[in-house]
Symmetry: C2
Subunit: 341 residues, 2 copies
């Protein structure tokens, strides 16, 4: 590393002995220049750690290499994990991802889209808030920026949707629960944050009907993204009110289930699938913490490896112009048997 400070591409090009337009071309796509040229640039790059000014680069280019990643609630480790997964894939593809969290608020989600516009992103991967999203604002955004929605579908907005086959989730776990014990009640929030919950309820109803059992749905109040607290507080209420008609409870999602496990603990119900247990509890998602509840939570694992991979691939295809019609992809979940049910 020589001490010389390089201020711009002009000076860097001078060091390499190559003209600036060619150097510029290299940074745009290293494969677009001759190998000998590439090697000379890269040799100089090792000695001077020059980087093109990111602001100057982007201002005069209609399409940047920026990619926006928007999740509804980053304090949920599920979204943190999937965001990380997506982030890595974007970097590997030579893009610069920027991560945003809507923190459960409509106003923030809208503001994020505003900010994103000014970044002129090549594309955006977005998990919308869901029910409380400003659909009109998102629709408008999708019209201007190639956007792939994931996790939570929003009408047919964006160039594609990638998520999970939620009805299949519920049907799978209902089938398992019925095979191994009493048919489950379904525990959920009355006003769920996103449509996935509705599809899971449908799946539950369908599976129960198919197996010839009478369904019981326990809906509880609660707003916002503190699902564990809602599961705990309203779980206690529902247990005390005797709203669960069988000794098996299927929760709409894992975070609700984690809170419900606490509710069981605090009301003295022993959770598990062995003799001497009072209640079986199952979730859906395979949340990172589900492995560590007591007892560990039986659940349906989202294939978020597949979701993130397909979402990213779809976006990059669309960016490269292989735009077709809107397409929705749903990945199946897998049963994860643990000790809670």
């Amino acid at each position: 590393m020589t001490g010389s400070k390089i201020r711009n591409m002009e000076q860097f090009a001078a060091v390499t002995g190559i003209s600036r337009p060619t150097v510029s071309k290299y940074f745009h796509n290293p494969q677009s220049v001759r190998q000998s040229t590439r090697e000379r640039i890269e040799r100089a790059l090792e000695q001077h750690d020059y980087r093109p000014n990111i602001f100057a680069m982007n201002q005069n280019r209609k399409l940047t290499k920026n990619v926006g990643i928007v999740v509804p609630y980053l304090a949920d480790p599920f979204f943190a994990e999937i965001a990380r997964n997506i982030e890595e894939r974007c970097i590997a593809a030579g893009y610069t991802p920027t991560l945003y969290s809507s923190h459960g608020e409509q106003s923030l989600e809208v503001e994020i889209l505003r900010s994103l516009r000014s970044l002129k992103p090549a594309g955006v991967l977005m998990a919308p808030l869901g029910r409380i999203s400003d659909k009109a604002a998102i629709k408008k955004f999708c019209a201007d920026v190639p956007t792939v929605l994931f996790d939570s579908s929003l009408q047919d907005l964006g160039i594609a949707f990638v998520g999970s086959d939620n009805p299949q989730f519920s049907m799978l776990i209902v089938d398992y629960l019925c095979r191994t014990g009493t048919p489950p009640c379904f525990f959920e929030m009355k006003t769920p944050t996103n449509p996935n919950a509705n599809k899971r309820r449908q799946g539950y109803l369908q599976a129960m009907s198919h197996l010839g059992h009478k369904p019981t749905i326990v809906q509880v109040p609660g707003e916002g993204w503190h699902f564990e607290e809602i599961g705990r507080r309203e779980g206690i209420n529902a247990i005390k009110a005797g709203r669960f008609t069988t000794d098996t409870v299927l929760c709409s999602n894992d975070r609700l289930a984690i809170g419900f496990l606490t509710a069981c603990f605090e009301t003295g119900l022993k959770v598990g699938r062995t003799a001497g247990c009072d209640i079986r509890v199952a979730g859906q998602d395979d949340h990172p913490f589900s492995r560590f509840t007591c007892p560990p939570l039986t659940t349906i694992a989202q294939d978020y490896e597949a979701v993130s991979r397909h979402a990213v691939e779809t976006l990059f295809k669309a960016i490269q112009g292989d735009v077709t019609t809107h397409e929705a992809t749903y990945f199946e979940g897998k049963l994860v048997m643990r000790d809670s049910a």
Copy 2:
């Protein structure tokens, strides 16, 4: 909203009937223009939703309004929460925060600093990886960009450090545990990720010595950021090997404790502080999930409201030139009594 598309500040200025330099001044600081002028601009702003081109804005300004926020591992909800808190404070102060996670990897942390440089941030708030951080790289970065370190201290790098009084944490909980039952063993990773763990061990030793008890430290192997899994796996090993000399275990942090609770469950140990329980378990941090373990985890709550507030305030002071000498601030924790100990 009129249909006219405004492409740049020139055109927007024309619409308002005000000159471009004045409009520019407004965007730099709305208070710097006359009220009547401000009102005219804001009226036009409502009709045309024009925003200055962010790239053009920043390229020719030595100091931007960007602020970098770097956390070591975003999939840990603790960091997600504190990042969110810091983010909001930055926005409220008129800055544009960008969030990065090192994902537990040195190479990524270094790369993030490289990227941050090219964003010309006004300042950076960084929770370093700790032990595996590339200290030289961070030192170099701190020399160029005003940086406040938080959560995990790294020598005396940066303009300030803001974190928790870790020895106090351990002393507080040791005192509590000794008052209410048998003195605790200390459960930790052999090679902790950051210096906080060492300070907590010191606090434990000091408190035990002060109270006249013989300390027992159980160190277990394990690398990376999957603390829960390490706590579970190595917890089982340590329990089976009879390494815990008393029926009370103080874990170095909550995530380890969450895993250790699972270990207790899987080895048949009943956790709690009531008659009939086999073991008491306590953590440190008040992790968002600690409220929902079974039993809920007794722990020491980090004051991350105070940490994030003071970190942001310190940074903005430094940015405004009130740079003094390096200063470290440590906030005390509060005992959160729950049912695990």
